[in-house]
């Protein structure tokens, strides 16, 4: 049972507040903000903490905190998922979530909350069903530039900021469209020898639908998709998802023509009756944004970057050293990584750094910087095309003589990047069919792929 729900601005101001049970003091908003701001030893506060018998559960989105308080022994993931759901609904109705968007739409948000939560009990949370109950017009707000995610940096489909209430319009300005985004986040760790010692993709097929009347859809994925479980014996009951029986990941890992997924889960609207045989998913998309499927895999990934690093002494001076980095971009030539950042931690006794970069002309170097405080050296590139080969050299000035230990103290190198229209797992949508027998009905269909770094680390 949720006692209170409130939304706080980045500065801790209350922008939305509802009290359901009246068993938590009104000062809880301040208690929450103070506790999370000044958590033990300056560490980031965990999403759940207990103060004076009141549990505070929170998620952060668009710079604002969505917080629920309770005195009961509730299911924490239930509450967190619910808070996430509220944030999605706000995005669905107001175009984005931010302090501004909430302030501009507060009567609408109160209306929505009325339907979402009654007496601390969750009610209807489907964006679509809620439409019946809201009367306020939304004021669509695009996120402020500082929060605007690079395409794919967050998990959801981006670039579209409009309200689901748009589909109710009858004034001819309505635009029917549907977005299907395959979003993959890469977590890869390379050892000092350059081999990937762990690699995993957390992927998600995100759907954002603005189709009036919610016509059914049919989506087909790769035929060579294989979903495996560790023991190979897929789960046979239930919805019938999960791979066939007897497959073993090991047998197929070498066969790179297959796309192998370790685990998949589907949204409840997914009808999987044709999934095992044809890899087809039928669904009636609810309004707004939702994850049709989440998957993860560690098999046969296409790793977009490789890197080698060498640290050597400067023969001219024992208070200088040279670090050479070479980075290969292993994606097809027609793709490009944007917003590439190469981050290199340096030991505390590096006083100054000077960098040189050799890159093919089009890989515009946006700059480099070295921070004395964090001891991080960072290169930024605007765009790196597939097949490019970048060399970076950093001359370090040291406060103490060069020692062999410097080699292990430099690094590990972390990469941040986003590659549009590229999926590291090679999962792809073969078709997206809108099942409506109307010749004139031809809504926009957007299918997009994006791979971004979650944690892409080269150890040294």
């Amino acid at each position: 049972m949720i006692s209170q729900f409130f939304i706080l601005s980045p500065r801790g101001d209350v922008i939305i507040r509802r009290d359901y049970l009246g068993n938590v003091p009104k000062t809880s908003t301040e208690t929450f903000f103070r506790t999370s701001k000044f958590y033990k030893a300056g560490d980031e506060a965990p999403p759940i903490f207990l103060v004076d018998g009141v549990s505070y559960l929170s998620v952060k989105d668009g710079g604002v905190h969505l917080v629920a308080t309770t005195r009961d022994n509730v299911s924490p993931s239930f509450v967190l998922e619910f808070l996430k759901r509220i944030s999605i609904i706000i995005k669905d109705y107001c175009g984005s979530i931010s302090e501004e968007a909430i302030r501009k739409n507060f009567p609408l948000i109160y209306e929505l909350l009325d339907e979402l939560l009654d007496y601390g009990l969750t009610q209807n949370t489907s964006t679509e069903a809620l439409k019946t109950f809201v009367l306020n017009e939304p004021t669509v707000v695009a996120p402020p530039a500082s929060l605007k995610p690079l395409f794919g940096l967050s998990k959801g489909p981006t670039g579209v900021f409009k309200s689901v209430l748009d589909t109710n319009r009858t004034d001819g300005k309505r635009r029917d469209e549907i977005y299907v985004d395959v979003v993959e986040r890469l977590a890869v760790t390379f050892n000092a020898a350059g081999h990937a010692i762990s690699s995993q993709i957390d992927g998600s097929i995100q759907v954002k639908s603005y189709l009036a009347g919610n016509p059914p859809l049919k989506i087909k994925l790769n035929d060579d998709l294989l979903i495996t479980r560790r023991d190979g014996s897929g789960y046979a009951g239930g919805g019938g998802y999960g791979g066939g029986s007897g497959f073993s990941a090991g047998d197929y890992a070498a066969d790179s023509s297959l796309v192998i997924l370790d685990d998949v889960n589907f949204h409840e609207v997914a009808d999987l009756s044709a999934f095992d045989t044809e890899r087809c998913i039928s669904l009636v998309p609810p309004d707004g944004e939702f994850a049709l499927a989440n998957y993860r895999t560690s098999h046969a990934l296409r790793l977009p970057f490789r890197l080698s690093i060498a640290t050597e002494a400067d023969p001219a001076s024992d208070h200088k050293a040279l670090v050479r980095l070479r980075l290969w971009c292993d994606v097809p030539a027609d793709k490009a990584a944007s917003g590439l950042e190469v981050e290199l931690p340096l030991p505390g006794h590096v006083a100054r750094v000077h960098c040189e970069v050799d890159a093919p002309g089009s890989a515009a170097l946006a700059g480099w910087e070295f921070s004395d405080k964090t001891h991080l050296l960072r290169w930024r590139f605007k765009k790196v095309l597939g097949g490019m080969d970048l060399s970076m050299r950093a001359r370090l000035t040291l406060t103490k003589p060069f020692g062999a230990s410097l080699r292990t103290e430099v690094g590990p190198v972390n990469l941040k990047f986003t590659i549009p229209m590229f999926s590291a797992s090679r999962i792809s949508l073969k078709y997206l069919q809108i099942m409506r027998k109307d010749r004139n009905y031809n809504p926009q269909r957007w299918v997009r792929y994006v791979t971004s770094s979650n944690s892409y680390t080269f150890r040294t």
Binding site: S75, P76, F78, R103, F106, S198, R296, P412
Partner: protein, 945 residues
């Protein structure tokens, strides 16, 4: 339309302006004004003075405006109860509107107004709406019943709303079912009574509904399934079969709740010990299915990951096999938030095995070179903990630690020294070759724990370190400035050095240290230890050697291991906040909404309690399956328990393992018993209440409600605690009692002074049971001169109030009043009220506990028992639960195995042997707290006579 402008109205005369706008005839203007009011309310400004003006806007056709007004009403109705009445008419009218949205809105809002006066008017509209044609109205009405119950439970029961709710469980609309279920669960929570019991018939309905309802409803149903009592292993299999697909859900709450159900069924299957092979197979198959979904949870946002990781760290302790091969997925990413990294580290340690240790060590080494100091320290400790728990990997761990020491990073070196000390304790005389390398880093040690560890190492291996005396001498130079921890280690190390190498220079050192530790310190621990050594050394150096250089017990790594009983309790609370805090729910969930109670409601509760007691007495027989056998086994092995082995090992084990506080079958049945009588008791006329409150306390003690002389006058039945001069005219009677499943301090205050007295508050001193008032107010209101008042102060367990040292039954109480100052008195704690209703454990746990505990206390009670069944019932009535009853072969005696839990989670175990009709009952007592024996014997005696 940009509504944000409402937030910026701060100019003067704002309120006045708003009043005018609210009165405006222009609807849009009116609406604007109400929005401004709501915005002001949100940011915390007081706009309650606008109440009548806003309420005036309520009569409107405009639904949007109506909603806004209702929002305001909910917020302020409590502060303006008289004005809130004005709204009632509109509510009643709205609840008959043709538009279902308006009907639902009216019902929803009415219930949120927690004003007693309104509730009566609420009943008729609610009754109508519960039977409404529109499911949206019905589901809103269902929740409203729970709201009403919170304000006025009697009303809900009188009007038969509970039955209507139960009927709604069969509604055609899943949303209505879900809300009815949620409302019933909530009412059960508030009242502590069983209003909803899952039968096998209902189980089927719920399982079927699982596929149809929303993700939130699924969580509700899964959580409800956990409390279902499985009949046999077939049942368990059937449930798991239906629940397993839920593990694939996108919503992490559904996944975790489904995992909770499967884990619970695994326990059931294991417990039932079906043909060994089969149960093993099932557990193995289910474990395999649970692994991948749990791993998938780690792909979610950090917040969700955190919850998953806290739960997984419990799951891997209980069922290591589920994730044994998955250690890699717990490797930290560089951009994980620190709270996620710390949890992952713990799980990596738990999953480290000889097979994966190389991989894991490599990771730890990487982490130990990161920038976050706390994380680095924890990584170094992790290496040490792996070394301690994996013997074959110890060598590799040590070489990693040595490499880390080479980095010369100050805090890394210090942490490494600390863990190497632990490794030396775990594997004595195996790795001292590395001491040389440690000694090279003495100058970088500046933290007490690291210094103390290094000093310990030097002392322990003084005979192998050539320059041990020089090393210690450098440390001794700063002896007076060191912290107590380092001083103690220095003292001991010097003594060890002296015993091993009694050279002249060492002799001088020891004299120096002993005199410094005895004369120049005000730390009693240090002084005492120094005197002990001094005396030992001067009387018998050989004996000193035996004492100081004795072999030390080997340590184990249990820093992350939870007590088995706690783990068991937490496993039953997977996917709840308890599993995130790793604390059982009753330590942080307080019944705040019930905390302040008047005497009347407590008295009513008390009459339930008596019924409960009777029901509880019946419960053990129902739950005793399999227990007799277990208990019989206990007898055969019990008397000869090897104390030494258990006790001395416990170098780092906290002394008192809290016994299972879990809700066990007995507890449930007991709630169930309460159910039947609840409505009747609640409906009891108010006149009956004082009588019940006045009932003799011994009536609970004796467990014979019927026979008790209930007619006694209120005050004298309670012992006098305060009076005469000390009381400055106030006379207080009182006693600790058990009422409605909790301990209350029943107080009766006579005001014999010349002034009115108010603001009475209670506090207690530290005591042996950690008793503390849950709410300090003594709710007697203001007592005029000559007036009297009764109050029951609920008591709660507060670990901070736990007195150290041997148990005694004394309670020191202070009560303050606004007029007469503070009073103090001493009271005795009767044990009987401290025995808890849910205090039974299952046969297995009893057996394990009985074996694990040291020699019992015994006493022969001079009572005669003719009817064993009656005796069982009497024991049950005081919350001592009979787990098993069997004849003792060849003696004609009967043996009863009895357990109970004392307030503060101390389990007591009893064996009673008796001959029917012959005087004398032999009672054996075992518990973590042996000192409770006498008090428990007294309770047994009084309950049996």
């Amino acid at each position: 339309m940009a509504d944000s402008k409402y937030f910026s109205t701060t100019k003067k005369g704002e309120i006045h302006e708003l009043k005018e706008e609210l009165a405006s005839l222009d609807r849009p203007k009116k609406k604007e004004a109400v929005k401004k009011v709501i915005a002001a309310m949100t940011v915390g400004k007081d706009v309650s003075m606008l109440f009548p003006h806003v309420v005036n806007c309520m009569q409107t056709e405009d639904l949007e405006l109506k909603k806004l007004v209702y929002l305001y009403l909910i917020n302020y109705a409590k502060t303006q109860p008289d004005l809130a009445i004005m709204a009632v008419n509109t509510f009643v009218k709205d609840s008959q509107e043709p538009n279902p949205l308006i009907r639902a809105l009216a019902v929803r809002t009415m219930g949120c107004i927690r004003v007693d006066k309104i509730t009566e008017y609420l009943c008729d509209p609610l009754q109508r709406c519960l039977k409404d044609d529109d499911p949206y109205v019905r589901k809103t009405a269902a929740v409203c019943v729970a709201k009403l119950f919170d304000i006025n439970p009697e009303l809900v029961e009188d009007r038969g709303f509970l039955d209507m709710l139960r009927d709604m469980l069969s509604d055609a609309n899943p949303m209505v079912v879900a809300n009815a279920l949620a409302a019933l669960q909530e009412i059960q929570e508030i009242s502590g009574k069983e209003v909803l019991q899952i039968t096998s018939h209902m189980l089927f309905k719920l399982l079927a509904a699982l596929n149809e309802c929303t993700e939130w409803g699924q969580v509700f149903i899964l959580d409800a399934l956990v409390s279902y009592q499985v009949q046999d292993s077939k049942d368990a299999e059937k449930i798991v079969e239906r629940v397993l697909p839920r593990l694939q859900h996108v919503n992490s709450a559904v996944v975790l709740s489904a995992a909770k159900v499967v884990l619970r069924m695994m326990e059931e299957v294991v417990l039932r010990m079906m043909e060994e092979v089969r149960s093993e197979e099932l557990v193995k198959a289910w474990s395999k299915k649970m692994g991948p979904p749990l791993v998938t949870l780690l792909s979610a946002e950090p917040e969700v990951q955190y919850v998953a990781l806290r739960n997984i760290s419990l799951i891997v302790q209980r069922w290591p096999s589920i994730l044994a091969n998955e250690v890699k997925v717990f490797f930290c990413k560089y951009n994980d938030p620190i709270y996620v990294k710390m949890e992952k580290l713990e799980i990596m340690i738990a999953l480290a095995s000889e097979r994966n240790i190389d991989q894991v060590l490599l990771e730890f080494k990487e982490y130990a070179q990161e920038v976050d100091v706390d994380f680095v320290r924890k990584a170094v400790r992790a290496i040490g903990r792996c070394a301690v728990s994996l013997e074959k990997a110890a060598q590799r761990c040590i070489s990693v630690l040595l490499e880390l020491i080479q980095t010369k990073v100050n805090y890394v070196v210090q942490e490494a020294v600390i863990v190497i000390k632990d490794i030396f304790r775990r594997y004595p005389n195996q790795y001292e070759s590395i001491i040389g390398q440690l000694c090279d880093n003495l100058e970088s040690l500046d933290e007490p724990e690291a210094k103390a560890s290094m000093v310990w190492i030097i002392g322990e291996y003084a005979d192998r370190i050539d320059n041990a005396d020089e090393l210690l001498e450098t440390f001794l130079e700063t002896f007076p400035e060191e912290t107590a921890m380092v001083q103690l280690q220095l003292l001991t190390a010097t003594v060890k050095l002296f015993l091993k190498k009694p050279t002249d220079s060492v002799q001088r050192m020891i004299q120096l240290v002993l005199s410094a530790a005895t004369n120049e310190t005000d730390n009693p621990d240090l002084r005492d230890r120094a005197y002990v050594y001094w005396r030992l050394l001067s009387t018998d150096p050989e004996a000193a050697k035996d004492v100081v250089l004795a072999n030390k017990p080997v340590i184990t790594d249990d820093s992350s291991q939870l007590e088995p009983a706690l783990l068991k309790a937490l496993m039953e609370q997977i996917s709840s906040l308890a599993s995130v805090y790793h604390k059982p729910a009753d330590t942080f969930v307080s019944r705040q909404r019930l905390a302040v109670q008047t005497v009347d409601t407590l008295a009513a509760a008390r009459s339930f309690a008596e019924e409960d007691v009777a029901a509880a007495a019946a419960a053990p027989q129902a739950t005793g399956n399999g227990a007799p056998a277990a208990a019989a086994a206990a007898v055969s092995s019990a008397p000869v328990v090897d104390l030494l082995g258990e006790d001395l090992l416990g170098d780092s084990t906290p002394a008192a393992a809290p016994a299972a506080p879990a809700a066990t079958p007995g507890g449930l049945d007991d709630l169930l018993g309460g159910l039947d009588v609840a409505p009747a008791a609640a409906a009891a006329p108010p006149a009956a209440a004082p009588a019940a409150a006045a009932a003799d306390p011994f009536d609970l003690l004796g467990g014979m409600a019927a026979a008790a002389p209930a007619a006694a006058a209120a005050a004298p039945s309670l012992p006098q605690l305060l009076g005469g001069e000390k009381g400055k005219g106030l006379t207080v009677y009182g006693q600790l009692q058990r009422v409605g499943g909790r301990v209350v301090y029943q107080l009766h205050v006579n005001n014999g002074s010349a002034t009115s007295v108010d603001g009475l508050m209670l506090q207690v001193n530290n005591n042996s049971f950690g008793l503390a008032p849950a709410d300090q107010n003594v709710a007697v209101g203001t007592l005029a001169p000559g007036a009297r008042g009764s109050a029951a102060v609920p008591m709660a367990y507060n670990p901070a109030k736990l007195a150290q040292g041997p148990a005694n039954m004394k309670l020191q109480v202070a009560m303050r009043s606004n007029q007469l100052g503070v009073f103090y008195w001493d009271d005795n704690i009767p044990l009987a009220p401290l025995l808890e209703e849910g205090g039974t454990i299952d046969g297995q746990a009893f057996l394990a506990a009985w074996r694990g505990l040291p020699q019992e206390a015994m006493q022969k009670l001079d009572v005669t028992i003719a009817d064993v069944e009656a005796a069982k019932a009497r024991l049950g009535a005081v919350n001592l639960f009979v787990l098993a009853h069997r004849p003792v072969p060849g003696t004609g005696q009967d043996a009863l195995y009895v357990t109970g839990r004392v307030f503060g989670s101390t389990q007591v175990l009893l064996e009673l042997r008796l001959m029917r009709g012959t005087p004398g009952v032999d009672v054996s007592f075992k518990s973590e707290r042996q000192e409770l024996a006498a008090a428990v014997f007294a309770v047994v005696r009084s309950s049996l006579t």
